[in-house]
Symmetry: C2
Subunit: 145 residues, 2 copies
């Protein structure tokens, strides 16, 4: 569904939103272990999400690390998908046809239409905070510890 990079981006962001805060930032080592992702690759992704997209906040030096502001936690999950450059996934024709549209639909267009809508709703109506919160509610998990 998503690339590895986007999967790591989603996992890392949700994990940081849940476990971190401005006064308890999380280091890249902890994050990578927790979400089971390659350390340096994940670092690059977090860099992108903080430098270019301001979804994640970061501070260097001792006691530095990553965290999300309360404002950032209110962003919809689709922001992360967008930041990773995969927003077209939610628009693209299932068969990859450029010309596919409402007026010139591919054979799967109609069938897929309601599914696409639900996908879009799921990603744009739910915030990072909401997905992070679910982890705390007992059963739901995201990490290794």
């Amino acid at each position: 569904m998503f690339t590895k990079a986007t999967e790591y981006a989603l996992r890392a962001t949700i994990y940081i939103a849940q476990k971190g805060s401005e006064v308890a930032k999380l280091g890249i080592d902890e994050i990578a272990v927790a979400i089971d992702s390659p350390r340096s690759f994940t670092a690059k992704i977090l860099q992108l999400l903080s430098r270019d997209n301001h979804i994640i906040s970061s501070v260097r030096g001792p006691n530095g690390g990553f965290y999300l502001t309360e404002k950032a936690k209110s962003l919809p999950i689709s922001c992360i998908i967008q930041a990773m450059g995969e927003e077209e996934m939610l628009e693209k024709c299932v068969l990859g046809l450029k010309q596919c549209s409402e007026t010139q639909p591919c054979p799967m267009h109609l069938q897929f239409k309601p599914i696409r809508k639900q996908l879009k709703d799921m990603f744009s109506n739910k915030t990072i905070r909401e997905f992070a919160a679910e982890i705390k509610d007992g059963v739901i998990f995201i990490c290794n510890r």
Copy 2:
């Protein structure tokens, strides 16, 4: 959603099912132009679908080409996805977590569950014939000619 290879596989198969027959086989050149795909790459894919998976039939030599038997047209679209090795797409955790399951769901698991079901239904309940047929019914298209 799918890889390029699978997109081409789906487009080519649906196109062949619609335009070809045992007595009017389609050549790789026509197919590639019609579905707007790279010729040789598409040839490899058709080879895979015919040699290993018996979804497409092929004959060499003059008047040779590709076609689908009536039996093959009755196969569900999921057969093509499976043949291309992407069947896990319909099972995999959205966040790519190996441990994600009903009893240990990731934060997106519950939200995504009904969507996954609809995707699975769409691909396993509709046949190649049905998708090919829709093309003929006026509006719906798949090709460049």
